[in-house]
Structure formats: C-alpha cells, structure tokens
C-alpha cells in the first residue's frame, strides 16, 4: 500500500473509532435518586436528573472514552483482587430504599473475616489519586465527580446494612491502588444529610419546584450536563485596581532585582560549599575568612512534635508582572 493511502486509512480508522463512541452515547431516564449521584453538590442538578433527563447533554466522545477506560480499570481491579484471593460477589446487585426513593447497583461485596462488605472501584487520574486518602479528601476536592464517590459507598453501606465498606481507587496511570476503608458510623451525620437531601429532591420533584442555583463554580457548573437548562448566574470576584505610585515604584524595583536575587542565592550557595572549612584565603581582590559557629538546635522526637503540631495560617503573596504592551 502506498504511504498516502496508508495515511488516509489510519485517519479513517481514527474517525471510525470516534464515530463508534459517538453512536454508543446515550442518556438514560432517571426516576429515583441514584446512590452514585446523591453526593453531587448541586440539588438543582439532582432535580433536573429526575425531571428533565431528556435535556441532559449526551456524553462527548472524550467522556465516552473515559467511561470505557473506567470499565477496564474495574475489570483489572477485580482481577487483581481475585489473584490475591478476594472474590467479588453480588456484582451489580440492585438495592433500593422506597422511603427515600434511593437506589443503586453495587460494584460488589468482598468477604473479610467471614463478613461481607460493599466495595466501590474507581479509576482516578494520577494527580487526584495522590491527594485522596480519606472521605474528607474527596469532599474537599471541589470536583463534583470526586465529591460523589464517598456518598455512593456510604449509601451502599446504609442500603446493605454493612458497618463499613471499601473505596478501592486505582491510578489511571496504573502506578498504584489504594483500598480506603470507610466506616458508616464515622459518617452518620453525612449519611443523614444525604438522606435529607434525597427527601428534599423527592419533594421538589413532586411539587415541580426547582431548587435554587448554587453559586457558580467552574469545577461544578462548567462540567454540568444541565448548564443550558439551569443557566446559572456567575458572580465574578473582580480585581481591585489601585492607584499608588509609591507602591508601584517599589514593585517595579522588586521585579528588576528579582533575577539578581536568585543569581546571588545560587552563587552564595556554591561559594559556601567551596569555602567550607577554609580560612584566611585570598583570591584576586577578595579575602575569605570563616569560623565554626555553635548553633543551638532542638532535636524533638516526632511523637512529641506531633503533640504540639497545629495549623498556623499565613498569607502567601505572589507578585507577577503583567505583560507590557
């Protein structure tokens, strides 16, 4: 085959793959609160899921590929658990609670010391993977898709009456996994808030009353499938323009000296290394002296340090020059 034809064939192959993903994209009706979604930070989104699911955007080709990757990761995790002697049972078994109109399909249950615990498997990008170790890390991530995960597992624990469950996360770069235990009784307040949220959604659906908009957040609203249905307002935090010639001069000088400062630090560090232990040395027009200084140091054992550890907030400033026209 000529090179030109081969290049075209490869381009066609890429188009065919994308088209195949596009054809698979679907939006499913949703008549109840889903465990996988109840942790979403916006109640208006959850309301639209139930009342206007047909207006939901079809997942993009890129998102479809992410979903496909997620399914592969799930299979891989099942395999590695199986190889280690842990079999997943009751995979995709549905559970529901009619009172809260809440339902979900668990990834599976795993047997530990004769008891069964729900397990939820998630593929996560390497950056997020490194930052996630407990429920709070997920909730504080600010990313709606991560914020939903602990809620999903905790609702499964509630629905299956299990005291604990495992959040099994795997880095999408395949560089590791974390099995995070999540105890229902450590998060009863949160679970209660999720159940109350489910009640509010049910009431809003019944009375056809849209819950209020949340303040616009790029990581939530920017990714929302109902963005063009919700039409959220955005309250920007404006820059504060000030006229202060003295401060401006100081900033200009600061910017001018910055390269010299970093060069000075670099050379100073190098000279300290070279002249360590040397005294009364003359090089060119410079005399270098040195002496050993006794410096008091306190070596405190780590467990004692931890007793006195506390967060001390400080203000970190960043000064950047705006491009000049």
């Amino acid at each position: 085959m000529e090179k030109e034809l081969f290049l075209n064939a490869v381009t066609k192959m890429e188009l065919d793959i994308k088209e195949s993903y596009r054809k698979q994209a679907k939006v499913y009706p949703c008549y109840v609160n889903r465990a996988s979604e109840i942790g979403h930070p916006c109640e208006r989104f959850l309301f639209f899921q139930r009342t206007e699911y047909e207006k939901k955007s079809l997942p993009s080709v890129e998102l479809m590929q992410i979903f496909a990757g997620g399914r592969l990761i799930e299979e891989l995790c099942e395999t590695e658990l199986k190889q280690a002697g842990y079999k997943l049972i009751e995979g995709q078994r549905p559970y529901k609670d009619d009172r809260y109109q809440l339902s979900g399909h668990i990834d599976g249950k795993i047997e530990i010391d004769g008891a069964l615990y729900p397990i939820e498997i998630k593929g996560i990008n390497q950056h997020d993977f490194e930052s996630l170790s407990n429920v709070n890390d997920f909730l504080k991530s600010g990313k709606s898709w991560l914020m939903k995960y602990p809620a999903q597992l905790l609702i499964y624990e509630y629905l299956t009456e299990a005291p604990a469950g495992i959040m099994y996360i795997k880095s999408k770069s395949m560089a590791g996994f974390k099995a995070i235990p999540i105890f229902l009784y450590d998060h009863l307040d949160y679970v209660e808030s999720l159940l109350k949220k489910a009640e509010r959604i049910n009431e809003a659906v019944k009375t056809k009353t849209k819950p209020p908009q949340i303040p616009y957040t790029d990581n939530i609203c920017g990714y929302c499938d109902f963005l063009t249905t919700c039409l959220p307002d955005k309250e920007g935090i404006e820059l504060n323009f000030q006229d202060d010639p003295t401060l401006e001069k100081m900033l200009i000088r600061y910017d001018e000296l910055k390269p010299s400062k970093s060069e000075y630090d670099k050379i100073d560090k190098e000279l300290s290394r070279i002249f360590k232990g040397q005294d009364r040395l003359v090089i060119g027009n410079y005399i270098i002296t040195g002496q050993m200084i006794d410096k008091k140091a306190y070596e405190i054992p780590e467990d004692i340090q931890r007793q006195y550890e506390k967060n001390k907030p400080y203000w970190k400033k960043t000064i950047k020059a705006i491009g000049k026209e």
């Binding site: 075209n8 188009l15 404006e238 026209e325």
Partner: protein, 273 residues
C-alpha cells in the same frame, strides 16, 4: 447577515447605564471626569494585557485572518478578571425559508465588569456549517483515496450549547474590550497565529491548501534526487520531452517554492514518475 449563513452572530450589545453612572456625571466636574476616564482607559489596557497573559494559542481561533477568543479562553479570562453574568435566557425559534425548515437558538445575558453592564447575544442554528458536515475518506474509480464531505445528523443539544457558548464569549470579550485585536498584538504576548486553530468558510475553505505530509515530501524529494543524478544528456532529453507539458510547469513552479501543498503533491507524483 442572512439567517442562513449564521455561525457566530454578533448582535450589537446594548449598554446598560446604571443609576450610579448618572450620579457620577452629576457629582464630578469635567476635569475630574476626564481624569476618571483616563484612569479607566489605563485600567482597560492592563485588563487587556492580563487577559492575553492568561490565554495560549489554543484559546484563539483564526477566522479569515482575524483572531477570535474561543470559549476556553473566554472562560479562563472571565474567571481571572472576575467578569459576572446574570439573567441568561435562551429561545428556540422554528424558521422557514426557500431552502426549507430549520431552527435557531438565541441566548441573551447581562455581563458586568467594573461597574459597567452590557447585554450580549449568542445564536446558532441547525444550518450551522460546524455541525452539518464531516469528512469521510473513500476511493474513486481509479482506486485513489479521496476525501468526501458528508452530512452529519444534527445533535440539537450541540446547537443549543453553541448558542449559549457564543453568548458567553460575546459578552466576555465585549465587556473586557477584547474585540478587534490583531495577530500582531497577540504575538507580543507569545500567541502566534500559526499555532492557533483555523476556521474557514465556504469558498475560502475550498481554496485552502493543506501542506503535504512529511512522507509525501520525502517521496517527491527522492524522485527529484534521482532526476538530478541522471547524466546531463539524459536530463536534457527528459526536459525536452516534458518542457511543453503542464507537468513540467508544475515541477518548475513547485521547485521554486519552499513548501508543497497536498494538491501540488498529487500533481507532482504524476509529473515526476
């Protein structure tokens, strides 16, 4: 602009003059107002620099030689500078003309920045060229691979989203004074036209010259190298044979240029073989 040719419609926004602006006009003397406007003008220069600093070539689109901020860039800039928007509302309209029925979405919203508000509009319709066509590769009767333009089923949600996004982009760029920029201004901030996306319409698109691939260029160069290695007499004979033909002209024209387009590469293949 006719309704049929819509892709990015730029309705003139109306300036919303707030009561505080009238108060300001009454409160300050002409000299003070002049100073205030000078300050505002300086601030807008800084805003422009800051906005450009926060974008990269992928955030800009070259549309018939002019740079337009894409939605990715507009949203970044809006977040950085703190542009607000409210009262976004959309309308779907069924339309009919000689070509048949179609529909359009129109979104409007109020955009605010530094005590100033404007209304901006964004539209998109089911005849928008970005959503109607895609290219498919097929073989012609001679077995050559050809690119065929095919009609794609329209996803209405895409039209709606594009209209909403156009409204945001129009509102953000107008309120920040990021319209009518030139590539020369952008290049001062490291945003090069060559690295940005390109959008061309109708006739311009047909005229577009795609560069030949590296493999194609290598192949041509190889054939030309063989030609150069021929004995002088053989070269003369060959040139004599082809000098009156279009093929010879093609070779000569292509050799004068630095790059060869896909179209020229096709002709060259035939000519140098």
């Amino acid at each position: 602009m006719s309704e049929e040719s819509l892709s990015i419609i730029e309705n003139e926004p109306k300036e919303i003059v707030s009561s505080s602006m009238f108060e300001m006009l009454e409160k300050y003397s002409d000299t003070e107002l002049e100073k205030l406007f000078e300050r505002r003008s300086n601030i807008l220069k800084v805003v422009r620099s800051l906005a450009l600093k926060n974008t990269n070539p992928a955030d800009w689109i070259d549309q018939q030689g002019k740079p337009y901020l894409a939605s990715s860039g507009a949203e970044k800039v809006a977040a950085e500078l703190g542009v607000s928007w409210r009262e976004i509302r959309g309308v779907r309209t069924e339309k009919k003309d000689a070509k048949g029925e179609y529909y359009a979405y129109e979104f409007k919203g109020v955009f605010s920045f530094m005590n100033r508000s404007i209304e901006a509009v964004g539209t998109c319709n089911s005849r928008d060229q970005f959503f109607q066509y895609f290219n498919e590769y097929q073989k012609d009767e001679n077995g050559n691979s050809i690119k065929v333009r095919k009609v794609k089923p329209i996803d209405e949600d895409n039209i709606k989203k594009a209209s909403y996004t156009n409204c945001l982009v129009n509102g953000i760029t107008r309120i920040l004074g990021l319209r009518n920029l030139t590539w020369a201004e952008l290049e001062k901030h490291g945003i090069r036209m060559a690295a940005s996306q390109k959008v061309e319409y109708g006739k311009d698109k047909e005229k577009k010259s795609y560069p030949a691939s590296k493999a194609q260029t290598d192949y041509i160069n190889n054939l030309l190298r063989n030609f150069a290695e021929l004995a002088e007499k053989d070269r003369h004979d060959m040139v004599e044979r082809v000098k009156t033909s279009d093929q010879a002209k093609t070779i000569i024209e292509c050799l004068k240029k630095e790059g060869v387009t896909l179209d020229e590469a096709g002709k060259l293949f035939e000519a140098v073989k």
